[in-house]
Symmetry: C2
DNA sequence: TTTAAATACGAAAACGTTTGCGAAATTTTC
DNA sequence: GAAAATTTCGCAAACGTTTTCGTATTTAAA
């Protein structure tokens, strides 16, 4: 790979010192307008491209942001990354994207790769297996800006972006109750996950407010495998005391529920109503169409990025505040919770 | 950000020269086993992490691969990236992921950012607007390894990975004909796209083989906007001479068709049968379930990565061969093409 | 006219690695 | 026991930037 001309060679071509050329290209006040013009035009003519590694080495910053998500095949995370890229690309930042595949060991490995300054900051959503957070804490203690979204980590004092998990789950559950559900189940990935806790809390409170008692067996703890989840949910649906309503805390479990229902003689929404957190654009095309709680994914990504850019580009920014910023979700009612 | 200890400091701690420590860590034959042990244990104790930029600067390689896709919210591309990451991460490579949003100007901008060696190679699928390929050619001429998949670029002499577009489209169209379709339309993004050309060729040949003449108006040229596409397709479906079968060359147009059909009093599959290239795992949950041609996305990503890793890590590899590698798709028949 | 200030640029160091070369110290060879 | 070969390590340069400091030239002030 021919990397093109270097600053030194460009300087030689211009009969100038490298320092002068560098300053001219960086628009330093110490360089005359005449020289700047000459330098810039020659740089364009020779298509000079500064070496990013020399610059990173010298300036101790990489112009790169690491994004870590639990899975890539997911509307929500894809949208968030789109939002991040939208903002960061305008400021010349590059995105390293990693998927943990919900595996905390992979997560640790990725974070250890990020110890050396390869990225100027991290934007992440933790894996469903993450309970010990020492690998996150280590990087944060070193001063690497870390920002969480969706699946946040309360132990790390930094800024986190989430949706109104509690209220949305509360409203979703309330909606199921209003539609006549008497026995409502809650589907979750891991109990450790921040979103699980908050959404479950909203679910429980809504039940209680309606004078219903949450049954432990109705809080179904699922895993990463779609097949296993489908089986698990199917068993729940075939049990003697089966639920007639489901609040799914994540999209994939709603889809597993659809798959599970297909293997029974039940029907949605007649025998089972379901509402799910989901960012699928095609929720309306499912059979039956799925009532969803949709997060403002792209906005979340954008807000993460805006804050980060401010932190990274302004001269003497304070550390990211230990705060949780909430951007509300939107409930869209469709056939899966219909009374007919 | 505290980047930790440097090689020099580690050397000082050991009373050794930096060169010795470097060689010890890189397992050079010039260093005694005793010294290696001492160095390695001290490096672990002090958690020494080599600075990637110093190394990149010195070695003129970044251990980074750029992946450029037309859109992120897309099952196929997400799966391909998963496949790429699967392989590259094992070899210590990092992934810079860019989305062009089907915008050739963004594509050009991204490629110009990659002129300076930030990535050791590029794996990409071109945007639907890409017809002039000079921005790709420039980088390839410089010696940067570029590898195409799915939407390939025949003008650039390098290795490309695709599925059997022609055959799949041929078989898909044949299937529609066998199901009784008499007037089959073809939905496409841009005419320039390699996948459009090949899939359209398969479509046309299947029609001809059945003694049917392809109508020009039935080759519908769509765009990037879902709303516009839905409207376009709706108009086609409401026209006096409407199709009774559709082969969609990309997933998003099948979904737009579903949306369009909802706004008519037509029904799939009774009035209109549809088959589409698609990697949606939930094609079976749509209403009605969608007959799909599914690409081996993850395999494509893995094969791209394997070839690239070989090229990048083995000492004196030749340039990537100018060849097209085909990995076949799989057709899954569902309700959307059912006769009832 | 002399001196001080401002302007415009160059020399060199630094960032943290890797590596060619040289040179002790040790071992082998004859 | 001397010479040669081998082992083991250090010195210094190099990668391509940015920046501190110094300095020559020009301009402004006294």
């Amino acid at each position: 790979m021919n990397n093109g001309i270097s600053l030194k060679e460009l300087a030689a071509e211009l009969n100038l010192a490298p320092s002068t050329v560098s300053r001219a290209l960086n628009d330093s006040y110490e360089i005359s307008e005449a020289t700047k013009k000459k330098v810039i035009s020659m740089a364009e003519k020779l298509n000079y491209q500064p070496n990013p590694f020399a610059r990173s080495l010298r300036e101790n910053k990489s112009k790169t942001i690491a994004v870590i998500i639990p899975e890539r095949i997911n509307y929500f995370f894809s949208q968030v990354i789109d939002g991040i890229e939208e903002i960061t690309s305008e400021h010349g930042y590059h995105l390293l994207v990693y998927s943990t595949h919900e595996d905390v060991e992979k997560e640790k490995k990725i974070l250890s790769l990020l110890q050396n300054g390869r990225a100027d900051a991290i934007v992440m959503s933790v894996s469903s297996q993450t309970s010990d957070v020492s690998h996150l804490k280590r990087l944060h203690d070193r001063g690497l800006p870390i920002l969480f979204f969706d699946r946040i980590c309360s132990e790390i004092p930094t800024t986190k972006f989430i949706t109104n998990d509690y209220e949305s789950a509360f409203e979703g559950t309330k909606h199921l109750i209003q539609q006549g559900c008497k026995k409502i189940a809650f589907l979750m990935l891991s109990k450790e996950l921040s979103i699980t806790k908050e959404r479950h809390r909203g679910y429980v409170d809504a039940l209680k407010m309606a004078g219903m008692e949450p049954e432990p067996a109705f809080s179904l703890h699922c895993c990463h495998s779609d097949e296993d989840n489908t089986q698990l949910i199917r068993e729940l649906l075939l049990s003697s005391n089966r639920p007639d309503g489901i609040l799914s805390s994540v999209e994939k479990l709603a889809l597993a529920t659809y798959q599970a229902v297909k293997k029974t003689n039940l029907s949605i929404p007649d025998d089972l109503k379901i509402i799910s957190f989901s960012n699928m654009s095609i929720a309306g095309l499912l059979n039956p169409s799925l009532t969803t709680i949709t997060q403002p994914a792209e906005t979340i990504g954008e807000e993460c990025a805006k804050l980060l850019i401010k932190k990274l580009t302004k001269p003497r920014q304070p550390d990211l505040l230990n705060q949780v910023i909430t951007i509300p979700s939107k409930i869209t009612i469709r056939e899966s919770t219909l009374v007919r």
